[in-house]
Amino acid sequence: MKVARREFLRLGSSRQSRERRRVELSCERLYMRYLDSIDECTTADVFEALERDLRDVTTLRLTCTAWLSREDFHSWIEPLFDSLTARGVRVVFEPRL
């Protein structure tokens, strides 16, 4: 089996690396974090950190998407989706979950 040097040093595998690039994000949990950030006045920081965390992602799978219907929340998350899709990331909305 071929192992990339970087993966070897990280004690990871290519498969783990690929899986890291497919991320699942619960909109419900993110919404709760967003509510906390309003009290803490850190909303911009939270979304900047989230964008940084999603830097290497190729597919972002969103669950509990009904939470996106809150307009104030959506106004924060939509620019993030736009930026991700412009970079070629697939953003998958899972209505059933």
Partner: protein, 332 residues
């Protein structure tokens, strides 16, 4: 209702295998998404399949996927989810508004986007089992009969109107449909998906037997795009459009009052979503003023051929086009 076997395939490939197997053994099949239209057809014995293939069990066909080139909407996405999806609502307003106007909340909760696009006509002669063109006969009874809600454009030999609200929106958005069938898959532009009765008087679209509308692809929305859907009904809810208009305007990036291009598609007036290409040309490169909207309204009914009892649709169409265009142009 005729008894039938229910099959729950786990994916589209298995669904197509079921179609092939049934055909091989001389059985007929029907594909069910939400089932709201199919169940009515089954109860009235307008379709009598031996096997109903339930697509709802297939995972992934109800997803929305956003990518660099646009958005893909799974055919099994419910109309309610579509109507309330925040991203779609902002970027593709015309589609969300069209979905929101379909039938009732209960139907929107189970009805799917693909089902809404592929539903059979609601002409009372067809639905009540008359031996009309849609039921395998040789006559369209609406020509000399009760034609209050029938076509003023594109009619003959059948004068049904296409009942879908989402179809005009998708043609206006220049969507493409991915069709999957027993012999493979193909991509068809929404504008080529629907067929006039003079091409095929028995069917309303190009779907082959056993073929399913798997997903709908929308091009990436530009920042200058704005759109809306306006539907006129003969009552407040739970009915189809008497006349509707789906309008998508692409505004100039430098001069935001000037329309760079337009796509206008009517519903409820023709056997297919009826595109007004001449009106679109009239608007291209122009500032949309009330005077231009009035000219567009006049042009929108050129070529209309009303039947005995649906002449009221001509002034109604003009009114819908003028009002929708004026309202959309005034939006920031």
């Amino acid at each position: 209702m005729k008894p039938f076997t229910n099959a729950n395939p786990r994916d589209l490939q298995q669904a197509m295998t079921l179609v092939r197997q049934a055909a091989g053994s001389g059985q007929t099949t029907a594909l069910a998404g939400g089932g709201s239209d199919l169940m009515a057809l089954l109860k009235e014995r307008l379709v009598t399949p031996d096997v109903v293939i339930n697509l709802k069990a297939i995972r992934g066909l109800d997803q929305i996927t956003a990518g660099a080139t646009g958005i893909t909407i799974g055919g099994l996405l419910t109309l309610d989810t579509l109507a309330h999806h925040a991203t779609l609502r902002r970027q593709y307003t015309v589609l969300a508004e069209a979905a929101e106007g379909v039938a009732t909340p209960q139907i929107r909760n189970v009805g799917t986007l693909a089902g809404n696009i592929c539903q059979r006509p609601w002409c009372w002669y067809f639905r009540n089992g008359f031996p009309c063109l849609k039921n395998g006969g040789t006559t369209c009874f609406s020509v000399t009969g009760e034609n209050q809600f029938h076509a003023i454009f594109g009619g003959g030999p059948s004068y049904i109107v296409h009942p879908s609200d989402t179809a005009p929106a998708l043609v206006a958005l220049d969507a493409r449909f991915r069709l999957v069938g027993p012999s493979g898959e193909r991509i068809v532009p929404a504008s080529d998906f629907f067929v006039l009765p003079r091409e095929n008087s028995a069917r309303e679209n190009v779907l082959a037997p056993g073929e399913v509308l798997a997903d709908i692809r929308l091009p990436r929305a530009s920042s200058g795009m704005k759109s809306t859907y306006h539907k006129v009904m003969d009552r407040e809810a739970w009915t189809h459009a008497v006349v509707s208009a789906a309008i998508v305007l692409e505004m100039d990036s430098d001069n935001k009052d000037v329309c760079r291009s337009a796509r206008i598609v009517l519903g409820g007036v023709a056997p297919i979503p009826w595109r007004l290409t001449e009106v679109e040309r009239l608007l291209t490169g122009q500032r949309i003023t009330p005077a231009l909207a009035a000219r567009a309204a006049e042009a929108s009914v050129e070529g209309a051929r009303p039947l005995g009892k649906n002449g009221y649709k001509v002034p109604l169409t003009k009114g819908v086009v003028e009002r929708t265009l004026t309202t959309l142009a005034a939006q920031a």
